[in-house]
Symmetry: C4
Subunit: 197 residues, 4 copies
């Protein structure tokens, strides 16, 4: 099975998730700047954060599937599993915002982030085991420090939320920051291969 | 007519259906875990269920159209007919959730599932009759036990809803489970053909 | 400029329009079948109608752009002009539904349908004037009876709405019906050409 | 990295933004034409305006990426940065509409327009610096009068909003108008190149 339609479908879902989050931003009732801040609460912050997360997943997804032309049925489902967790971002982010960063909603948001990270990890494992492109992906990903650090940071954030939900934002934002440094591993791998060939 | 744009359009519609269902999940007003359960009701369960259904349809649709490069005008409309039934999932699922699994909404949800299954069956029949790829699809689908069992299970679910709507969920979930075992028929067919060629 | 991205963008917009209309269907508050009918009012009828309209436009759009590989900047804007009118369907249909087919909303819906038909006609004229594929499109479209009848029928519907909005639905539905008979002109043209070549 | 998926993803996001804005249009409660005008307020005007803006960005984006087959990781993020600003259009436009063109919301809308224009400018700078296609883009864009005038006009609009928000609409609309004249620079460049080759 070719990857084209899987990529197109994933692009569609990610494009919609990243865009409908704006529908969860409450339009302020007043017309002052403070009404905007009151209405959106932490909403603008988590909007930016979720936008960056989805952007990162799209980016990494894009890189990973470049190395493989054909995929198995298992990869299709692992990909849908990832999209499932990502599709919940607008919902859990909205709850966290509307509760003004209460403890339980922040923990639930963290669990959602963690679920997506583990789903991505599982998808990557499956892709690495494929005969076609698997070895290249293993070479390109290498020790995968970022991929391993992300779930750990999410767990730390969830734990910190029990102290104070505000603290949880620190590791959550940290994950976004470490990935925003563009992931040049696969690009480097492709360039090296190109140079050798 | 080539299948590219039909696939792209169907991918778009399916990606949107699978994603906007999250907009029907009510954000809880309280900030406790029990508020989440109260607010979403059976919503989270039917969200997962509908997500899996759409994933299955996308998966099977993807396999079916791989065998055919060209399609007739009739297939275009049979495909739109399928998308029509699938587009109603967010609506009928939301009604069932908000009524907390009352009888009529559960029956209506079942009728929606049944309508989609029959529309898919009709689309498959048309595709099998095509000169190009029709024979391959017939070979690949074979006796199509799953395809025939699904509408039967939906009818059983609709009937059980008249006893107790909760019972209806059993055959509904059963359909998702039997399809989650990935459909390797077309993959197998392609591999066999590849081996023979 | 190649047509690929224009087709992809148009497919995306049409897929979203056809799918978000379901968000305008009001979920019933009660749990009886009569609650469903009360809540959706004429909503289900106009949902089906709008779904069919968008399907027809997608279908015809798809055929038209098959005949042309390259397009001018003017076509880009004529295409956006068409998408603009189509994007208003969910809004004008929702108003007509919520007013239970009052006169003004029905007229506005008709004007929306008419605007889209004229925009399509304008796009088709531009495409026919293109050096590449223009002649083929003119040959394929021929006298374009359907294309000319549609705006006339919409005008008749708008006029009838002033008598009784219910009457307006007759020509509106008639347009959908005459197009549902699949438009084989371009298919025939391509087959004839294929046979001659 | 090839541009295909970046274009597909951007098309998806732009298609969704342009389409979900219709969900922010309030369906009138009454059934008269004046109810429509009251309910939508300046909403219909800003709907048209935002539709045209997104159309212009899609158009220019489309032209720009035609000149380049491969992109760097930096371009991916610059593109997401642009999509971020554009994704806020439905939100800031809705606030401006619901406040009936109050000062602060109009300024915020202007800042949003300005942010998108600067993000596009940054993306264009990055694309111009690329080894592949960079020189062609520089040649095609030339002095880029429109690209430089747009942010200036947005700043003028923001400043005028402090006098009267209605005045701000003049430069905002002016930007749309100067771009609606189709941007033939890249088309011309490609034609010239084609003629020379």
């Amino acid at each position: 099975m070719t990857t084209n339609r899987l990529e197109a479908f994933s692009d569609g879902v990610l494009a919609i998730i990243i865009t409908i989050m704006v529908l969860e931003l409450k339009v302020p009732h007043g017309e002052k700047l403070k009404d905007l801040l009151e209405a959106t609460g932490v909403g603008l912050l988590t909007y930016v954060l979720s936008f960056v997360y989805i952007g990162i997943y799209w980016n990494n997804h894009h890189h990973m599937f470049q190395l493989s032309k054909r995929i198995t049925g298992g990869v299709l489902w692992a990909n849908l599993h990832l999209l499932f967790w990502l599709s919940l971002y607008p919902f859990t982010a909205a709850w966290m915002d509307e509760s003004d960063l209460a403890r339980t909603p922040t923990v639930v948001y963290g669990v959602n982030l963690l679920g997506a990270a583990l789903a991505y990890y599982g998808l990557q494992l499956l892709m690495m085991r494929q005969r076609e492109g698997g070895q290249q992906l293993r070479d390109a990903v290498g020790r995968d420090l970022k991929g391993k650090a992300s779930p750990v940071l999410y767990v730390v954030g969830i734990a910190l939320a029990f102290l104070d939900p505000l603290f949880a934002l620190v590791p959550f934002i940290a994950v976004a920051v470490i990935w925003l440094v563009p992931d040049r591993r696969i690009e480097h791998y492709l360039q090296r291969e190109g140079a050798e060939a």
